[in-house]
């Protein structure tokens, strides 16, 4: 009897997946545990693996198609076995998904019977089939946690596909290759005579759209801009980096800004708050979301308790999180739970911009470039390094004066970095 291959819920929030690429093709022999296809979820590109041995009899959905979780995407069975060609559209009932995992142990009958669809046996139906549950040994779990490896991305080689030590050790440290056909946003537009290219929305783009529409639409934004003199912060940074010498882990402006924002938020709890429909949650802890551009989108890893961390700690953490963010290896708890965010486009020579609030956070600051500018010093003109910061505020949480007060503190901190020691 042929076995259905379903679109599995490869992440806890996944509702549908885009079939990026079939790594096995019709007629290929497949073994249980082998990768059949790459599927893009709302968070990452993951592998869809075979749950049965046999031949990949039929592929039901072409590459690039987005399929709801639970739908049949392919059939595995004995060579020559007939399968039901209409299985693609209808989502499989839960009990049939159970039958997939149960079917692994069932010996295949010698004679391949043409069969419309495998009927769930009562025994198989009793087996809980949660595609998001990961079987792993206690040792493998610990090692994976430590290495920041997502066990769901690893193919287990232990009994029953359990992830064991050697699987974690063999897990690639690099991110799975992105097979997306979408052009990189940074690519130059090719002048080929074709006026435009239609690229389907990737899952992460959809998520961004959903989130940001939810933001700029119902959220009454207002913006506050101030210009900050960064001369002393720059001097402090140079002095600190000279002090660090060859130790590595140099302090960046971004580290200093994150620290200053965190410390300013401690003083202005009114800005460190979440709008929660029927209430406002004012945070006592400060967790700074840091917008990181990744291929085909952005994500905001969180530096927790940034107010309590040293510049070096913030720097090390920011680099590590940004690195894994770009490789799409962040764990959900690493990009959720920020109380306030910072978006920095300084490195792209942007003088000033407005950032969109990441709800339910009440505010975000947009950091431009630090540029030397002529400024009046009394009645003289002097050249100073200046930074333009724009704060976006959710007016339901933060009022104009509240936001201005926070920005004033931030400005003082950056203009007189010693104030951060207070």
């Amino acid at each position: 009897m042929a076995t259905k291959v379903h679109m599995e819920a490869l992440s806890p929030t996944m509702e549908e997946g885009r079939l990026v690429k079939w790594t096995k093709h019709e007629g290929d022999a497949v073994k249980s545990g082998e990768t059949l296809a790459e599927v893009e979820t709302d968070k990452a590109v993951m592998e869809l693996v075979a749950r049965a041995d046999g031949q990949l009899l039929k592929v039901m959905v072409p590459e690039g198609t987005t399929v709801p979780v639970g739908n049949v995407v392919a059939w595995i069975g004995k060579p020559g076995e007939k399968v039901d060609g209409d299985g693609a559209g209808a989502p499989a009932p839960k009990s049939e998904r159970s039958a997939v995992s149960g079917a692994r142990e069932a010996p295949a009958p010698a004679q391949a019977a043409p069969t419309p669809a495998p009927k769930p046996t009562p025994a198989a139906a009793a087996v809980p089939a949660d595609a998001t549950r990961v079987k792993a040994s206690p040792l493998a779990k610990r090692m994976a946690k430590d290495a920041g490896v997502d066990l769901k991305l690893i193919q287990g080689s232990g009994p029953g596909g359990r992830v064991i030590k050697r699987d974690v050790e063999a897990a690639p440290t690099a991110a799975p290759a992105l097979a997306s056909a979408a052009p990189r946003s940074a690519d130059r537009a090719p002048r080929t005579g074709v006026p435009y290219e239609d690229v389907p929305l990737s899952q992460i783009r959809k998520t961004i759209a959903k989130r940001l529409v939810a933001s700029i639409g119902p959220i009454p934004h207002f913006f506050l801009t101030t210009e900050i003199d960064m001369e002393r912060a720059a001097e402090a940074r140079e002095a600190l980096n000279t002090q660090l010498g060859d130790e590595g882990g140099k302090i960046s402006f971004n580290d200093i800004i994150i620290k200053a924002v965190a410390l300013a938020l401690v003083q202005h709890r009114a800005c460190n708050a979440w709008f929660q429909e029927d209430h406002i949650r004012y945070w006592n802890e400060v967790h700074i979301g840091m917008a990181v551009a990744i291929e085909d989108g952005l994500i905001t890893p969180v530096i927790r308790n940034a107010d309590l961390k040293s510049l070096r700690q913030i720097g090390a953490e920011a680099r590590e999180l940004a690195g894994r963010a770009r490789n799409r290896r962040l764990k959900p708890e690493e990009y959720t739970g920020a109380t306030f965010s910072v978006s920095n486009l300084g490195m792209f020579d942007i003088d000033q911009f407005t950032a969109v609030i990441n709800p339910p956070e009440g505010g975000i600051v947009a950091i431009g470039s630090i540029v030397p500018k002529p400024v009046a010093d009394g009645d003289r003109l002097v050249v100073r390094r200046r930074l333009r910061v724009t704060m976006s505020c959710d007016h339901r949480v933060i009022d104009g004066a509240t936001g201005a007060a926070f920005l004033k503190t931030l400005k003082q901190m950056l203009e007189n970095p010693l104030a951060m020691l207070l």
Partner: protein, 475 residues
């Protein structure tokens, strides 16, 4: 009597089987049972008794004799427990005969299992032939799927220094297991499991025992701390232990043997009524047609096999002692089972040779799994050792079996159990908790989380795990 194998519906071809197994020892008979379970027509060829060395002249009868030794020792010390046994006499002949009955029962048990699974047992000496055939006398048996070599091993002496086994003054474990009377004194050369167990047995039966080991400590493959406990325990009982010893010369007389032994820079003369050779075993690879079939050997004389236990000749597998160390019945059991599954086209879980328990049934018992502390050091592993002595264990105090300890070597970072060593009463039974833990990659924390019944010796395992975490409770 041959049971014809049904080849195709309606036709019978005599002497044809799916699987033919040469040797009915532990590896062979388990391979036969598992093959039969998987629906394969199976034959076992055995020249002696079913069950092999293990059942007839190894594991099983020695365990019977060790229990006799245990009772003798117990009775000598029973006064402290309020039980006075006067006039305790030992009779090795009676103990030996009891051990033979136990062996026979077990061998008959294997015969029964063969019948139960409709496995054909061919009595005789088999010789492999090309084309997956085995010749026994004038009969040729043909395997449709595979031939499995499970010919095992045998005792060996050291003829190079004049210690060729003569069965009277220079004996092997085979002879020791069939003796009617014990000699007055016995020198045992080799302090691995066999030497250790016979030293224990014969000392309890009143023999003056000298135990000689070439390597720097007795039980050389075990953890050094285990060797220490056993050295002390044996010496306390009056067994002379000479480790790091080189036997340079042996003079074999009619009723005594004199050995020239060099140890720690000193020359020593050991005279005993007999010498028991326990220096290792030779594999049975001669005269079974290996070469003719294209089956190669390793440098160390074992049959060369790949990770699926397939020999260099397609269709011929090797399992058990002939397939390489460790030469342990339970390793052979597993190989037999795995090969049967491979032949039947299944995909068995690969054997973890680093997770085979090692047990010596001397008193106190020594059982271990995984790496020793010295091996952890050699591999430069970042480890933490946790220990718990039985002297601090309530159950052990109750039975007066406070010798020994549990030691767990764990990875400092993740708590993986690199190795575990138990010396003490019932160590052989307790080691499996750690075998299960390692097989499933449990860490020391899962060992601790599992509630251990009180009072038991096994509590010491939980305590050793806790000790490795720096939070031992009962010391």
């Amino acid at each position: 009597m041959l049971r014809p194998y049904q080849n195709e519906p309606g036709s019978f071809v005599a002497n044809q089987f799916d699987v033919i197994i040469l040797g009915g020892g532990p590896a062979g008979y388990i391979c036969a049972i598992r093959s039969a379970q998987l629906g394969l027509g199976t034959a076992v060829i055995e020249q002696d008794k079913l069950g092999g060395v293990c059942v007839n002249i190894g594991c099983i009868p020695t365990k019977a004799l060790l229990h006799s030794a245990y009772i003798a020792t117990l009775l000598k010390e029973s006064k402290d427990f309020g039980v006075e046994a006067s006039g305790v006499k030992t009779d090795y002949g009676v103990a030996m005969k009891r051990s033979r009955r136990v062996s026979d029962q077990n061998s008959k048990g294997v015969e029964f299992l063969m019948k139960k699974h409709k496995i054909t047992v061919v009595k005789g000496t088999g010789v492999l032939q090309p084309g997956k055939k085995v010749k026994v006398g004038n009969d040729v048996y043909e395997a449709r799927k595979a031939v499995v070599v499970a010919t095992g091993s045998r005792v060996k002496g050291i003829p190079q220094i004049g210690l060729d086994i003569n069965k009277t003054t220079v004996i092997s474990s085979d002879d020791a297991l069939l003796m009617e009377r014990v000699p007055d004194s016995l020198a045992i050369i080799g302090a691995g499991a066999v030497g250790m167990e016979f030293a224990d047995i014969f000392q309890a039966f009143g023999v003056k025992v000298t135990l000689i080991e070439a390597l720097p400590r007795i039980l050389p493959i075990e953890d050094a701390e285990a060797s220490d406990v056993l050295t002390k325990s044996y010496r306390k009982r009056g067994i002379e232990v000479i480790a790091g010893a080189k036997v340079s010369k042996a003079t074999v007389g009619k009723d005594k043997v004199t050995l020239e032994v060099e140890a720690e820079g000193e020359k020593k003369r050991v005279t005993a009524a007999a010498v028991l050779m326990a220096t290792g075993r030779a594999v049975n690879t001669e005269n079974i047609g290996l070469k003719e079939c294209g089956i190669q050997l390793t440098d160390r004389g074992f049959i060369k096999v790949d990770k699926n236990l397939q020999t260099t000749a397609p269709g011929y597998y090797a399992i058990g002692d002939v397939a390489g160390p460790p030469m342990l019945a339970h390793k052979g059991f597993r190989e037999g089972s795995v090969v049967a599954e491979l032949i039947a086209g299944q995909k068995p879980h690969p054997i973890r040779y680093d997770n085979v328990p090692s047990v010596t049934y001397c008193h106190p018992e020594v059982a271990s799994i995984g790496l020793t502390e010295d091996q952890c050091k050699e591999k430069k592993l970042d480890y933490v050792a946790g220990r718990f002595p039985f002297s601090a264990n309530g159950r052990a105090r109750g039975t007066g079996e406070t010798e020994g300890f549990v030691k767990i070597l764990r990875d400092k970072k993740y708590g993986e159990i690199f190795g575990a060593h138990i010396v003490g009463a019932h160590a052989s039974e307790m080691i499996h908790e750690l075998a299960v833990a390692r097989e499933n990659e449990y860490t020391v924390e899962e060992i601790d989380l599992a509630i251990h019944a009180h009072p038991t010796m096994s509590e010491a395992i939980g305590e050793a795990a806790l000790d490795s975490l720096g939070r031992v409770l009962h010391i």
